[in-house]
Structure formats: C-alpha cells, structure tokens
C-alpha cells in the first residue's frame, strides 16, 4: 500500500498524527481506520513528545538544583539558568498578580512556559529526521506482520506537539478549569454567577448578559489554545514547504531553499520563545482575573 511520494502526500504525511484508538476490531494505530475510532482516539506521537518533554523539564529542574541546599555559595551552571527562569516567572506573576497570594500560580506559569518552549523547540529539529527514525524503529519492532507499518517513510509521526490543536486546546482547557475553580473559591459562587449575568446591562436583561459574558468567557481558552496552535502550525507548514523546495525542484531552487531554511529557523527561534511567553502571560492574566473581585 506504499503511496507514491508526491508533494501532496509529503505535506499530508507531515501533518497527520499517529492516532491510536478503539475500532470495532479492537485497539489499533492503523491510519486507515482513524475514521472508525471516533472521539476516543489518541494522538500517540503528540502525547509521547508532550509527556517526554514535560518529564525532561521536571527532571532537569530537579537534578540541576544541588541536593544539599547551600544558600551560602554562589550558584553555578545549570542552577543559574534555573534561577533565572524562576526569577523571570516570578517577575511576571508579581506584575500581574500584585499582592494576591497564590502559591500555585508561579509553578503553573513556570511549567507552562518551559514546557511549551520545549515543545515548540521540536519545530527546529529537521522536519523529516524524527518521523523517518520513528518509522524505522516501528518497522524494526513490529516487523512485517503489521500492514500499516510496512513503509517506514510513510509512518505518521508528528514531532511538534504544539502543532496539534488537541495539545494546545488541552492545555488551554486545563487553564480554563483552573480559572473556574479559582473564580468560585476566591469570589464565591454567587459573585461568579453575578459576574456572568448582571452586566453589561443590569439585572433586567439577564439572558442577554449571560450570552454575551459566556461568549467572552469561552473565547478566552479557545483563543489561548488556537493562538499557540496557529503560530506553530504555520511555522511548521513553512518548514515543510521549504523542505519541499529541496526535494521536488531544480538545484537553484534547492539552494535557495537551504538559505530560506536557515533564515526561517532563525526567525522561528523568536516565535518559539514569544509564543511560549504569550501563553504563560495569558495564563497568569486569566488566573489573575479569576482572583479579582470586580466592583461595579
């Protein structure tokens, strides 16, 4: 079932996740049966990299900090980097939260920032390197027996989790849940409901207020998740298109592709950091809003 390598198939290949789910015949990761899986399917590649990079973050921050806590000696090496990131996060939380004390916010912001940064950075790994490697590993492990792994080159494996809307919206969803939780615990359920129903038009137009506020309320997590997804997806797309210049056209265009690849990769470093920062800043901002008791 090996398909001919065309421009379309190349792009499609790079934009399709390795999806595992339950079909009537049982659990499978066969890309030709995705339709039958319905909602209860998992993007194994996205989740793998997401968990792997999250684990990397936790492990790095645990190991790089010396076991014997010594506040007297000057920090060195990786510890400096960690303290720098912590200070950066603390500054941001401080500026948005001010006097409100909530010990969860800073660790949340740190996790979000470093984790998303790491996931975004996967974008800078050459586009074909990891998918083909994964295809060969899968082929070596599963062997000939499995129909859909037969061609290692067409094994679906996306390496940038943040180009998967499920990942970005999943994180936005977690932030959303936290926002609701803090809105209710800090302001109280009554104040929270009042906030959603009593303005902008006062208590005589509660349904209208509710619809308007609800749109506003739901739009936050969706825009949060889609912003990150959109930026990274577009970036990945451009990497794929530049890669196409190398493989499917004449030599001069291929050379131009090399140059463009370098330029885009350098520019993308900015996007990668910026998007991680924006996601973190908005996360803090939304949670800060959840802690504010508005006065009208």
């Amino acid at each position: 079932m090996a398909k001919e390598l065309t421009t379309e198939s190349y792009i499609e290949h790079h934009l399709t996740n390795l999806t595992c789910g339950k079909t009537p015949e049982g659990w499978t990761c066969d890309p030709y049966k995705v339709e039958q899986m319905g909602f209860w399917a998992f993007h194994v590649d996205s989740l793998f990299w997401s968990i792997f990079l999250g684990g990397l973050f936790i492990l790095f921050f645990k190991i790089a900090m010396p076991k014997k806590i010594n506040a007297v000696s000057a920090p060195t090496g990786a510890q400096n980097f960690i303290e720098m990131s912590i200070e950066f996060v603390e500054d941001n939380v401080q500026s948005l939260f001010g006097s409100v004390k909530n010990t969860l916010i800073a660790p949340l912001a740190l996790t979000v920032f470093v984790w998303i940064l790491l996931m975004n950075l996967m974008d800078l790994v050459p586009v074909d390197f990891l998918p083909v490697l994964a295809g060969h590993i899968a082929y070596a492990v599963a062997g000939e027996g499995v129909e859909w792994i037969k061609n290692p080159e067409s094994f679906y494996f996306k390496v940038v989790p943040t180009t998967d809307p499920n990942i970005t919206l999943g994180m936005a969803f977690a932030v959303f849940v936290l926002t609701i939780y803090y809105s209710i615990t800090v302001k109280g359920l009554r104040a929270f409901i009042a906030e959603l129903t009593l303005h902008p038009f006062g208590k005589w137009l509660i349904p209208v207020n509710f619809v308007l506020e609800m749109v506003n309320f739901i739009a936050k997590p969706i825009s949060l998740g889609l912003r990150l997804f959109g930026n990274l997806y577009a970036g990945e797309m451009i990497f794929i298109l530049i890669a196409l210049m190398l493989f499917f056209s004449s030599i001069p265009i291929g050379i131009l592709g090399f140059g463009l690849h370098l330029v885009w990769a350098l520019f993308h470093i900015l996007i990668v950091v910026l998007q991680a920062f924006i996601f973190m800043a908005l996360t803090i901002a939304y949670l800060a809003m959840a802690h504010e008791t508005e006065e009208h």
Binding site: L47, S50, I58, K62, A71, W115, A174
Partner: protein, 156 residues
C-alpha cells in the same frame, strides 16, 4: 487535525506536571533563592554597620589621641616648670648655704684670732711680770700693779 480524546489526555498530563512542579520542584528552588537573597542583604547590612563602626572607632581614636597629646604636652610643661623651680630653689638654697658657711667661717676665724690675741696678751703680761720680778725682786707683784698690767696688755 481532528479534535479527540488527546485533548483530555493533554489536560490531565498538564495538571499532573503542574502539580509535580508545584509540590516538588518550585518551593525548594524558591526557598534557596530567598535564603540567599536574605543572606546577601544581611551581609550588606552588616558590612555597612561595620563601616559605620569603623568610622566611629576612627573618630574615637582621633579624639583619644588628641586628648593624650594634650595631656602629654600638659605634663611636659608642668615637669619643665617644676624642674626649673627645683633648679632655682636649689641654687638659692646653695647660695644661702654658702653665705652661711662663709659667715660662720669668718666669725670663727675672728674668734680664733681674738682668742689667740688674748692668749698672747696673757702670756706677754706673764712674761713681762716674770722678767720684771726677776729684775726688781719683790718690789713688784702682780697684785700691786694689776692696773698697769692690764693697761699694757690692752695696748698690745
């Protein structure tokens, strides 16, 4: 690009990671940083205090030094006056003593002279009387011519 259960799985994964970071990663790092910050600010404060007390000590030292110098000068001056006093006293005393010695010496010389003169007179008159007695016999006696003898002796 379908939305599927990956979303929920990612949300759960995120909550787990955040919880781990919140519980095990963040607090120890933050406490180390805060501790160090405190130590540094304490150290700076202590340094400032030490500086201040050094300044103070310097001032106190200068003050003491000046005082000591003044005292020393004072003592020196007193000693000088005392010394010159002693010297002048001593010289006065010595002069007085010398005069006294001179006076007593001259008076004793005079005494001796007078004594010698008296003795000489006595002896002279004795010799004269002896001689005269020998010449004149008993015509003359000491008792009869006492007046004349005395006169003569006085003229000697």
């Amino acid at each position: 690009m379908n939305i599927n259960a990956t979303l929920l799985a990612q949300a759960v994964v995120m909550i787990v990671f955040v919880a781990i970071c919140w519980r095990y990663i963040y607090p120890p790092i933050l406490s180390v940083m805060q501790e160090r910050e405190k130590r540094i600010s304490d150290g700076l404060e202590a340094a400032k205090k030490a500086d201040d007390s050094l300044e103070e000590a310097k001032l106190a030292f200068d003050k003491e030094l000046n005082q000591a110098k003044a005292e020393a000068a004072d003592i020196l001056e007193k000693a000088n006056t005392r010394a010159s006093q002693i010297v002048s006293d001593a010289s006065l005393k010595a002069e007085a003593e010398a005069e006294k010695i001179m006076v007593s010496a001259s008076s004793s010389i005079e005494n001796e002279t007078n004594k010698a003169k008296e003795e000489l007179r006595q002896q002279m008159s004795d010799i004269i009387i002896d001689t005269t007695q020998k010449i004149l016999g008993d015509e003359i006696s000491k008792e009869k011519h006492e007046d004349i003898l005395k006169k003569a002796a006085e003229e000697l």
